[in-house]
Symmetry: D2
Subunit: 406 residues, 4 copies
């Protein structure tokens, strides 16, 4: 395809009442943060497959992330996980990022990989371990100051494996107290994103087990606390886009960890299992973007889009590019929804017309659109090919085996 | 077994530090409301199996419910569903109940069986249908006044079947406005119990789809609004007892609809699928009953225990008795938990001891205990046998076939 | 769009090595049977919403089905459900079908709507009820002879609601004996399609609960017995396309009941929940169509494609058309898979390239292709619009309310 | 409790028609194999919590296993995982086992922890990797000869993460060919147990994904191939006991891997999540034990009961003891089922009586029974206390940290 394909596409969309110039602007504005740990070795509990060429330190992780940004133009920031990305001099790391055209993004405290956290961190009944955990989050706020990050992104692995193992209500009280201390330490421009997860690594109860529990904490903490939706952290069948709409309406949606799952928290490439679900999430976000309520519109405008994929068997950098491309594809499709048609069908309670107005946007091939957007952004028209044709993948093999495990 | 069995049991429990006199008091105090519709014909979408002897009107439903109370002594009130139980003269119905030793319990508005509700009731985009639905709930408040009921128990079937069918956020706004009007109409002593359900009859999104959505509504409405937990209304794997603990801690748990499920909302006999789960729910309630927070203790003390079972293939009255007996059994077991032992194990982070302290209570055979409790309450020691040996089941056959469908 | 859109599309596909003439031939050859009961009133256990204009008898159902075939050209046969579609003179029904350009398709015995079947039909421990059920299936074979149908399509609702309710192994023995009697009655050209279902209406165990149980029965019966896959009859997370591939490899896949589900057996419009899954099913079928094994190829060529949707809230005829269009769309996309590229990537164990080779076919907009196919078939380019613009929907309103319930 | 408790219990059971002498014999005969890897460090993909005192080699694992057998008398054999338990001299290992009163049990090939297996083992499209995998299984047969084991217990992690990653049917062909080679190598007295798993570590499709796939392979291989049921390897809601009954009826149930799960393959202590399910599995086994078909009876008699738990946060030896005790408890309860009462209720299609006949056995407290059994077996009446009161747990602390990871 080529320019004529786009001309054709543009004409067709114009006939539908879609202004492609606005669509292109929104596509160009979409920025997706990639995670430093997405470039490291990873796997399942049964096996971590060590690859050749894995970055050996945070600096090299940033170099890999810069490749993703180079070919997509959409990934200017990189999330850090502490202590995985702990360095002596964060200024140095920040400068390294800037020299690569990147900024440092969300700071993710790690509250699950110390032996001390066997029975939990912020919820632990042992006060000194709880103190250690809270201190670690406070340290992360400090790091965020050094790195210029405005987001603290908190996933809490706390929970229990057996009935009675600990007191659920008391753990809730401890959690709130811990989070309040963290919240107090935030600078005014900082936001705390609270993630929830259905299960794993806890197998009986998880202290932040669903959106309601994360939302409730965010509500008690204050306006700088928001909920983070990881698309793989729900019970089977859960309508994730409804949760997105709900949190937007409550002005409590802070961001996403995008990935795919068919079973549990599979952490597969974004958009590889059920692309329609991702599209429907963007439909809800776009719908909220034109809400009558200014707070909802503002919330929708400030969503932090982040990838959280744990590559098991595929090469890291192209897999990350694939995730980014898939996000762009589904976002582009959602931008082609004719919201007037949707609204009219809804008002007439015409189920089939309303369903059709959503699905027809999903069925467009947005390749020509994305190609033109990329051209105009000055990035390769085919980012995957551009990466594969570069020698970067070859060059990093010199790093050998045994790089960083997420 | 007999008295010696109880003596033996009492001794053993005393050795464990359990005061059976207190246990017996709590067992005697447990009251469980049965639903009028549990005595009517019911089935699945594929077939309602019509039984001989089904009550033909609300008065006969009360008569059947009185049998359950007669043999258990635990079911003094009956929930009504309007308009299924609509009568011209609610005073007459109330007097009939009283003459049977019963009171009229929760009033359940029916917002799903009018043709007008095809696209929803309280959330419907059509204002006049919404008005009709709100008016129906207001009528139910009036009926509650007539029947002396203090509970409005609201299950909302509203939702959509397809993406885009209606605007999720706007439906949420309509729901809140509708509920606010209902809430305003409540007398000071009344409580509004808001039920949630994962899916069915809506298959894409359900407006009150999980505890978080019901809780959020209750929070916005005020202290008289509480959440109702139907044990069959969750996604697979959901930790129901955690939700119970959570809502108790927030002082927002209003009541239960007890039933069992293996798959979806199967509405089977309570305690027939996973009795341990029911026991663990009572563990959380009892734990909250001695919380340091007075509000939580009070919330736990005021829980409305109700059955909501839809008998498909079994005779109604004995199936209801079976559900009641199973609730009593699991409650009795939970009362045998040694909470000091639990607490000590939790403080020592001794996982196996904590788990054991819970499970060991579950493994007791509480038959001798329940027999003595019944003896002291003046009801039959074996309620099921007492019912089956009465001629009530035979007598109602004269009603013929074709009674009320729930 | 129009001819130039197709020219453009054709060129692009030719560049990818896809011969659109072959694709078009396969699209024209795709025939999908619609079910008579899909035109009747239906609903959930909570409410059947009665629509105006519902057919009042099997003859009118055929007339509605003829509309779907008229605008799609893809639905020349109609499945019957006995006794819902019982008539005195099947020759007359057959001639009526033929006069409408239709044939009568699969005969579906109904073994769940007699009061006698409360504890099962072919598995019932009561021999006389089992006899009645077997006789009904034998009657259906006779009806198939009259109607010229070659398929007996058997969904068995049998199961239990409680542990111990009946003996699982003995029910299995009874089932096999019942099916053997049915199998013996088949004419040589007839096939018995055995459907399985995870749950509902049985809530503890279902006698044909998964593909393995249906497959095992088919294996014991013989070559005329095959498995029918209803896309809504699986546990959450089940990889349906793997089952399809597996049964094709065993030469035991007989047909499909297409519909969509997000939760349980929701029976929604085909392709409305997860269109990618439907595409992946067709990918497996097409892959098997070129298997080295002739038996597998032949099995794939003889699949009976059938719709089994239970419309709850949408008008029946256009909803059926939508299901057909969605099947065609996903089949068309699957036909655009470059199987050489897939194979090459698989041989190189290049995960990303292999995944891409599948997904990229899904992302094409097949609208211009389907439009040309329809033009060449002599049916409306936009079947939905053609139907809506006809006055058929208006004319049937004269039937009034209260037509046939599936 | 004590002797009088048992006297009382025996009397009560005698009144129900249960002969406790037979029950005791069956309880004494129940042998459960523990896995060597259950004594090693383990965890989730997020963290393996290293404990002090973990065995450092297969010899020390056997010593820990001997403790479990010492206090329970029920665990005389230990399963090995190769290469985790690879030693130079298996005679030496065997003699070490015998000196501890143990035998070596099932040999478990490990086909998932080599880097080469990133895309599968027995199903891998790469012939040389497949050869390596088959050779490993053949080596395991040799090891079984050395260790005197009669069981090869095969769990296959093979699968794919993305649609199209590999050809599902061809992987099936490769699997069958691989297994046939393994099967040919078996000695006549050996059995091959084929395990299946719903998902993990593969997240799109698993080559042996359900019982039907394992059964089908076993059927093609021959009578020495049987299916192994891991109680944690099913989709949510799956009726595991039905699968058990089904496989028994087909004489293809070879054994169990017992553990508990609430969500996915959580590998928790047996009987800690839903004890009723374990009881119902034993109900089906006991029912098959008196089947009219001799083959089914024989299959039931030869089931290999094995634990497969991965302890995350609890001390290994007492957790294993707890699993054993829980298996004994549920087996004991199942032995108290009055099968005549069940049969009579089933014949009368009395749902409530049949359900009651099962559940009432579950509700007995079998503590006095198990105490007497243990007394008669000459093992401690309270095995857990006996272990905790011994100094073994203290002595092994000298091993330090950093023992074997499963």
């Amino acid at each position: 395809m080529g320019d004529s394909a786009y001309t054709f596409f543009e004409q067709h969309q114009a006939n539908r009442g879609i202004n492609l110039e606005e669509v292109k602007q929104q596509l160009k504005a979409l920025k997706i943060e990639t995670p430093s740990w997405g470039y490291g070795d990873s796997g399942t509990r049964f096996k971590v497959f060590k690859q050749v060429g894995i970055p050996r330190n945070p600096f090299e992780k940033l170099e890999d992330a810069a490749q993703v940004h180079r070919v997509t133009g959409a990934c200017p920031s990189v999330a850090l996980h502490i202590p995985w990305d702990k360095v002596e001099d964060y200024d140095q790391l920040r400068h390294h990022a800037e020299s690569l055209g990147l900024t440092l993004g969300a700071i993710n405290p790690n509250l699950f990989q110390e032996d001390d956290y066997i029975f939990g961190s912020l919820c632990n009944s042992n006060e000194s371990i709880r103190r250690q955990a809270v201190n670690h989050t406070l340290e992360c706020v400090d790091i965020a100051r050094s790195t210029g990050s405005s987001l603290i992104s908190l996933w809490l692995a706390d929970g229990t494996n057996y009935p009675g193992q600990d007191n659920i209500r008391e753990r809730k009280h401890r959690l709130l107290a811990s989070l309040q201390e963290l919240y107090q330490a935030l600078d005014p421009h900082m936001r705390l994103l609270i993630e929830y997860k259905f299960f794993e690594p806890a197998f009986y109860h998880t202290d932040l087990g669903d959106w309601g529990m994360a939302y409730n904490m965010a509500l008690k903490l204050g306006p700088q606390a928001l909920v983070l939706v990881d698309t793989g952290h729900h019970a089977q069948g859960t309508n994730v886009e409804q949760i997105v709409a709900y949190l937007l309406d409550e002005q409590k949606l802070g961001g996403f960890h995008f990935n795919s799952r068919k079973y549990a928290d599979d952490d597969l490439i974004v958009g590889s299992v059920n692309p329609y679900e991702l599209f429907l999430i963007f439909y809800q976000i776009l719908d909220a973007s034109s809400a009558t309520d200014a707070g909802t519109r503002q919330t929708a405008a400030n969503i932090a889009y982040m990838i959280d994929q744990s590559h098991c068997i595929e090469p890291k950098i192209p897999a990350m590019i694939r995730s980014i491309l898939n996000v762009q594809t589904q976002f582009a499709k959602a931008l082609l929804i004719n919201f007037d048609a949707v609204k009219q069908a809804q008002e007439q309670q015409d189920v089939l017309a309303a369903e059709n107005a959503i699905r027809e946007a999903f069925e467009f091939d947005v390749t020509p659109l994305l190609q033109v957007v990329r051209e105009e952004m000055g990035v390769p028209v085919d980012p995957m090919r551009a990466y594969l044709q570069s020698d970067y993948g070859q060059r990093i093999l010199a790093r050998g085996k045994g790089g960083a495990s997420w």
